[in-house]
């Protein structure tokens, strides 16, 4: 970017040229490195931190019938904590948070239980099979997400072949007193969890696969050689070493699942809304931007908390040994 020639002596009486060459010299010395380091920070500041601060500011405003529908001061305090107080008093929010966290947790656990064997399987098959299977893991992303949710709605609906098949097999299995006309799947937390697991499974499989793929298969053999049966080998060697993958996959599923809007709106139980639905409704229906912002901030704090704890734990785990003197 800055050619070497720009380092030459600045021409007299040309302050602009001098400034340029000073800049060029600085850039030459350390520009590339600093620029590369600064890029992600600039990105984060511009696209995360500043918008987030705007949301925080908005959460402390007061709702007004103006456009935009919020303001500061008036008969209310300049910084209005009403929203935060409501978070803890209005059961609507508390229940929404509980529902969201429950659904997201259960979905994450099922993603893990389903994804772990798949990821492990991926590491054990031949190279050519592995590429095909990895492709299949990612393939659903090629279809529109909405389309896939609608497909599930079709499957779960009362009159679908899928529902009828389940109903018939249930009726065939149990005494006739317990017979049902259809399986109530739609508009329930079950449906939300099912579709969430389906949607986010690849986000669990890929980081798990990445961490399992790096494991040395000789470690398994070493454990077997030392007397461990295969299940024991898994618990002692594979599982603890894949913990970073489990945590990464867990966060990739849990965080978006907890804030998910589309899935609960389309297949969820309308009487127990999830947090994404609340934020959306507060913004669009109630036009209570400060309250919507408050809920959004609360969700973020709730999500960032575990992440911070995890990174703290990881730092400690890494720092524990390296603090000792080396030979």
């Amino acid at each position: 970017m800055a050619p070497r020639g720009a380092d030459g002596p600045p021409l007299p009486g040309q302050p602009a040229g001098r400034a340029m060459s000073t800049l060029a010299r600085w850039f030459h010395r350390r520009g590339w490195r600093d620029l590369i380091i600064a890029t992600p920070y600039a990105w984060l500041i511009l696209l995360f931190l500043i918008p987030f601060l705007i949301v925080v500011a908005m959460s402390l405003a007061t709702r007004t019938p103006t456009a935009p529908p919020f303001g500061y001061g008036g008969e209310n305090p300049v910084l209005n904590f009403r929203g935060y107080a409501r978070l803890f008093t209005d059961t609507l929010y508390i229940r929404a948070f509980v529902t969201s966290l429950m659904n997201a947790s259960i979905a994450t656990i099922f993603c893990l239980l389903l994804g772990y064997p798949m990821a492990l399987g991926l590491t054990r098959v031949s190279k050519s099979w592995r590429n095909i299977l990895l492709m299949l893991v990612i393939l659903p992303f090629w279809t529109s997400f909405l389309l896939r949710v609608y497909a599930w709605m079709g499957l779960m609906g009362r009159n679908s072949w899928f529902n009828r098949m389940l109903t018939d097999s249930w009726n065939w299995l149990v005494p006739s007193d317990w017979a049902i006309t259809s399986v109530p799947m739609m508009n329930s937390n079950f449906a939300v969890i099912l579709v969430t697991v389906y949607t986010y499974l690849p986000f669990m499989i890929l980081p798990l696969y990445a961490s399992l793929e790096r494991l040395d298969p000789q470690l398994d053999e070493a454990a077997m050689d030392l007397g461990s049966r295969p299940w024991r080998v898994f618990l002692d060697v594979t599982l603890p070493q894949s913990l970073p993958g489990i945590i990464a996959g867990g966060m990739l599923v849990f965080i978006p699942a907890a804030g998910e809007l589309v899935i609960p709106v389309l297949v969820g139980n309308p009487s127990s809304p999830m947090i994404g639905r609340i934020i959306s409704d507060e913004f669009a229906q109630a036009r209570d931007w400060p309250m919507a912002s408050t809920v959004a901030v609360a969700l973020l704090v709730l999500m960032v908390g575990p992440t911070m704890i995890y990174s703290r734990y990881q730092q400690k785990a890494e720092g524990a040994g390296s603090g000792e003197e080396k030979p």
Binding site: L219, A222, M224, L226, R229
Partner: protein, 367 residues
């Protein structure tokens, strides 16, 4: 040293194929209790496959393996009285040194105190006591190798398998560790089977060596037997440096054979081997250190003239490559026993020299 009386390990007609590739072909071996036995060969010779069959990671396609009289067929690795030291060491990276060593012990029904005592004993054996709490990435390669050894020895195996135990260490550490391995073996009395591609390592470590090539055992013997009495051209060439020449047996008198070596343009006396017939086409092999080099014609049975083509001066000794009358080259190794500007080495570039060797030094190979 040979285990004929009471073979601790008996490998009977063992073969192993991977698809159409025969990794191990009909191997028969016995190893005595307390022996250090090496499987020596180049890559792909089947030595590692054989080791993995002993550990139970691979099942033989044919044949059986007995360890201490017990047939190992169908016995999984976790039930075998055999532990392995992997080439990569395969130390559990998420466990401390101590936990690594204790790993095998958790399958034994012993008290926590006994277990701790056993771990302490192992740490002491490999001199790693101060590093007990370290994680594997915080210790050096040589220390990791010792952790792997301690971990494999902690459960007091009947047999320890070592896969290229010294390959990952630098030269200086290798020599030190070699002697340490031997002393640990002597103290524990455990039978060692070592897989190596390094002939020097095999020579110094082992009581006996099996030289393998393309899935077959070519020769089994003590290091001296393998070096001095190789059974085939392959073994002769694999162990140490050697010069080989096609030859023909002219006459047999007692234990001496008169052989015609066209490369040396003459007939020479060599110690006959059993089963030799007159007129047989053979190979005569000579170790570089068994050939004497001189600038004057020596008074010896076998003398041949030559010219120094190349020489490498190592200080304590020199290696010559001498052109023989037939145009072939022979390697000659001479110790630089005398000191002085002119006498430092017996010959120089392009010098005309006389080479001589004892009849017993000429190795007659028929295979």
């Amino acid at each position: 040293m040979s285990g004929e009386a009471e073979p601790f390990i008996r490998i009977e007609n063992v073969a192993k194929s991977f698809g159409s590739f025969q990794a191990v072909k009909d191997v028969n071996l016995t190893v005595a209790r307390g022996e250090i036995f090496s499987l020596l060969g180049g890559s792909g010779c089947g030595k590692t496959t054989l080791l993995r069959m002993l550990a139970g990671f691979e099942d033989p396609t044919a044949g059986r393996i007995f360890i201490d009289g017990q047939d190992m067929s169908g016995i999984p690795p976790w039930e075998r009285p055999v532990h392995m030291m992997f080439q990569s060491y395969a130390i559990f990276p998420h466990m401390s040194v101590e936990k690594n060593i204790a790993y095998g012990l958790k399958h034994e029904r012993i008290s926590a105190a006994d277990r701790a005592a056993r771990v302490a004993e192992m740490l002491d054996l490999v001199q790693l006591t101060p590093f007990a709490k370290r994680k594997p990435h915080q210790i050096s390669g040589g220390q990791r190798q010792r952790v792997a050894l301690a971990r494999a020895l902690a459960r007091q195996p009947k047999l320890l398998l070592l896969d290229e135990p010294l390959a990952a260490l630098d030269k200086k550490l290798r020599e030190h560790t070699q002697f340490e391995l031997m002393s640990i073996q002597a103290r524990t009395g455990v039978t060692f089977i070592v897989v190596t591609h390094d002939q020097e390592e095999a020579m110094t470590l082992s009581d006996r060596i099996a030289v393998m090539d393309r899935g077959e055992v070519r020769q089994v013997g003590t290091p001296t037997e393998i070096y001095e009495y190789p059974a085939s051209r392959f073994v002769a060439g694999f162990i140490g440096a050697i010069s080989t020449f096609p030859a023909r047996v002219i006459r047999l008198t007692g234990d001496l054979a008169e052989v015609d070596i066209p490369a040396m343009d003459g007939t020479f006396a060599a110690r006959a081997t059993p089963g030799l017939t007159e007129g047989q086409e053979i190979t005569v092999a000579l170790r570089p250190e068994k050939v004497a080099i001189a600038k004057t014609c020596p008074d010896a049975v076998n003398v041949v003239e030559g010219q120094v083509k190349d020489l490498a001066y190592f200080g304590k000794d020199s290696l010559y490559r001498v052109t023989l009358p037939g145009g072939d080259l022979i390697a000659v190794h001479a110790v630089n026993a005398r000191r002085g500007p002119d006498t430092a080495r017996p010959a120089d570039w392009d010098d005309k020299v006389w080479l001589s060797f004892e009849p017993a030094s000429a190795i007659i190979l028929t295979d």
